[in-house]
């Protein structure tokens, strides 16, 4: 019973407050992310979307001044508890970044590296192929696996980064504006890929592009700047609902571009 309860969401934030030094960057986030769905986080610049996203796999730990208050439940465990190893968290909650950032290694090594350090015991060639297929890149690179990852185009690089992430078999993939550095065509490819991935992974994606959130996501979380300049989760719900009939005036104003 409890088991079931614990596992009903992919990840869940409870009264999460995020700080940079003394400043409260995001206030009181409560959100439950559905499994194997795409959840988009939208909102004006600086409202803390990235901050919240990075709180989900303790990526904020890398910023010395950042700290969190409240809890982020993953498999029923608060990942901010003392005894949690952030390295362990990150191998289960992967991340894809705004700018494609392949390692300056071969395509093969890009994919294999993460699995390797994590002690992957299976057949590496198979894993690499499987991951590249999963990222819809296999056909384009299968004859050039030893070419540098940097020699690919932007869109291909981003898919390589996705392949690398799924190679360590995470539960959840966090994406921070994964297509904002790409042209429209490559963007659409990534969007299609995200939908494919959602069959196996839970995806949380931050995007500046409302239309993109509308296009790809199942759920949308709208963040906004509160009065005290701390970000707040303004509205959260099914994407179709949010974009055709949002509950809050601010959400409506934001998505129809009548803000500020």
């Amino acid at each position: 019973m409890t088991e079931n309860n614990i596992n009903s969401y992919a990840i869940e934030a409870k009264d999460l407050n995020l700080y940079y030094g003394e400043t409260l960057a995001v206030r009181d986030v409560n959100i439950q992310i559905e499994k194997q769905k795409i959840t988009a986080m939208i909102g004006p610049s600086g409202c803390g979307k990235s901050t919240v996203l990075r709180a989900f796999n303790r990526m904020n730990d890398l910023i010395p001044s950042a700290h969190a208050n409240g809890s982020v439940l993953y498999h029923g465990k608060n990942i901010y508890e003392e005894d949690v190893d952030p390295v362990e968290v990150r191998r289960r909650i992967g991340m894809v970044f705004q700018k494609p950032n392949p390692f300056p290694k071969s395509i093969y090594d890009n994919v294999a590296w993460g699995a390797q350090i994590n002690g992957y015991t299976g057949n590496m060639d198979d894993l690499v192929e499987e991951s590249l297929r999963g990222a819809a890149l296999w056909n384009e690179v299968k004859d050039n696996l030893d070419k540098s990852g940097l020699s690919l185009s932007g869109g291909q690089q981003q898919r390589l980064c996705i392949a690398r992430t799924i190679a360590v078999k995470p539960d959840i993939i966090l994406m921070d504006e994964p297509a904002s550095a790409l042209d429209p065509i490559a963007t659409l490819k990534i969007e299609d890929l995200m939908q494919e991935l959602a069959k196996d992974f839970t995806i949380i994606v931050v995007t500046h592009n409302m239309q993109q959130a509308a296009r790809v996501s199942n759920f949308t979380a709208f963040f906004n700047l509160g009065e005290d300049y701390a970000g707040v989760l303004e509205e959260y719900g099914v994407t179709a609902e949010i974009f055709t009939n949002p509950k809050k005036k601010t959400t409506e104003d934001y998505i129809t571009g009548r803000f500020g």
Partner: protein
């Protein structure tokens, strides 16, 4: 995370990974410590030699020179002159008289002459700062035993006298005055030569040079010059400025040849040599500063209908000048510390008079240090250390200026 099932297909290798991470991070820390320790050792080593006990022995006890119970320090100049006349050779006294009649000299001057020529204090032995601090009694015992006539003073080798005295064959009386002045003269020439040329070249390379073979050649050439050992510049300076251009560098072409020099081993030669040496540094630093000006700024300017020079003058230079100056200062401090090229170009090691023009013979601080370091007598090590402190102080203040500039710079763009 016991609640979460182990990742399928992945070994549980985390603890081991964390362990090796810890090991290596400690190693990196220790290495950093070694670097810091080396610096501290170096500074302590210098401080250690710059201060400490000195056992002074006088040839003549100053007390024996007292006249009518008035101690030497309080004697009238006339009495002092008298003592001097009594104790030095007549020829030397005449020489002094010719240089400047004694009536016109100040009391201090004559007193110094008496101490130097008559009392002739000499360091019988010196001790380092550490010995002086921690083995005081042993030192005293040693002095009492070995140098019964000597006075034991705790001396700071770097002191007012040291700063204003010219070079001397006697370590206790030697100072860095001529060396500092020499260094300043040389640097002045260096700057005069290298700064405009360097900045001009940098502007040319960054703003005007197209992708032509000549420009690529210039750039590669400058990069290579920056890596040429300084001693090669010394050889070049020797061949070009000292020898080939001797009529110019000696000042002969102006007819204002310094009587003390008869060749091209002058401040001018040294300055130009160091100028050549730091020119690539200035160019490269200035290029970097100019390159740091975002090209968007240039585009904006051109987009408004500005000409090339308007763009450079109004936007590129104002925004890169702090960077250029920082780079120049760093290059200057490099030049200030350079020794080898000056040795090769022919710095004089023993100059007691102030340099007066670019055509004077010269010495410089690092030369002085080098020279004192290679003397066998222990007390020259002490004044070498003192000179090093002077040099480091100058460099440190230059660097401080550079840091201030750089901070201002990084705040701006």
């Amino acid at each position: 995370m016991s609640e979460i099932k182990k990742k399928e297909g992945f070994a549980d290798n985390l603890p081991e990974r964390h362990r090796s991470g810890q090991f290596w991070s400690n190693l990196f820390r220790i290495s950093t410590g070694v670097g810091i320790v080396a610096l501290i050792a170096l500074l302590l080593n210098i401080t250690n030699s710059a201060f400490g006990y000195v056992a002074i022995e006088n040839r003549i006890d100053p007390e024996s020179l007292a006249i009518n119970g008035i101690p030497l320090e309080q004697l009238h100049p006339i009495d002092l002159t008298y003592i001097l006349k009594q104790n030095v050779s007549a020829g030397y006294f005449r020489n002094l008289e010719n240089e400047m009649p004694f009536e016109q000299r100040t009391r201090e001057e004559i007193y110094d002459l008496v101490i130097e020529r008559v009392v002739e204090p000499e360091a019988a032995s010196t001790w380092s700062l550490f010995d002086s601090l921690f083995h005081k009694s042993e030192i005293q015992a040693e002095v009492a035993e070995k140098y019964p006539n000597a006075d034991l003073h705790f001396t700071s080798w770097i002191n007012g006298n040291f700063l204003v005295s010219p070079q001397s064959a006697n370590a206790e009386r030697a100072g860095v005055r001529t060396a500092v002045l020499g260094s300043l003269w040389v640097i002045f020439i260096t700057l005069l030569f290298a700064f405009p040329l360097g900045v001009g070249a940098a502007i040319y390379l960054e703003e005007y040079a197209g992708d032509l073979w000549i420009n690529r050649l210039i750039q590669t050439n400058i990069n290579n010059l920056a890596g040429v050992p300084s001693i090669i510049y010394g050889i070049l300076g020797l061949a070009i400025f000292v020898r080939a251009l001797e009529p110019v560098t000696s000042g002969a072409f102006l007819g204002t040849m310094d009587p003390t020099t008869a060749n091209g081993r002058t401040i001018l030669s040294a300055g130009l040599t160091l100028g050549l040496l730091i020119l690539p540094l200035i160019i490269i630093n200035a290029q970097e500063a100019i390159r740091a000006v975002p090209s968007s700024l240039r585009q904006a300017s051109f987009g408004l209908g500005a000409t090339k020079w308007q763009t450079i003058w109004h936007h590129v230079l104002p925004n890169s000048i702090p960077g250029i100056l920082t780079g120049t200062i760093l290059a200057i401090s490099r030049a200030l510390g350079e020794t080898a090229p000056l040795v090769v170009v022919g710095a004089s090691t023993f100059i007691t008079f102030d340099p007066e023009s670019p055509f004077s013979k010269f010495t410089a601080l690092p030369i002085q240090i080098y020279q004192w370091t290679s003397r066998p007598q222990a007390e020259f090590r002490n004044i070498a250390a003192a000179a090093i402190i002077v040099l480091l102080m100058i460099l440190l203040s230059l660097n401080a200026v550079a840091v201030v500039l750089r901070n201002k710079y990084s705040n701006k763009l």
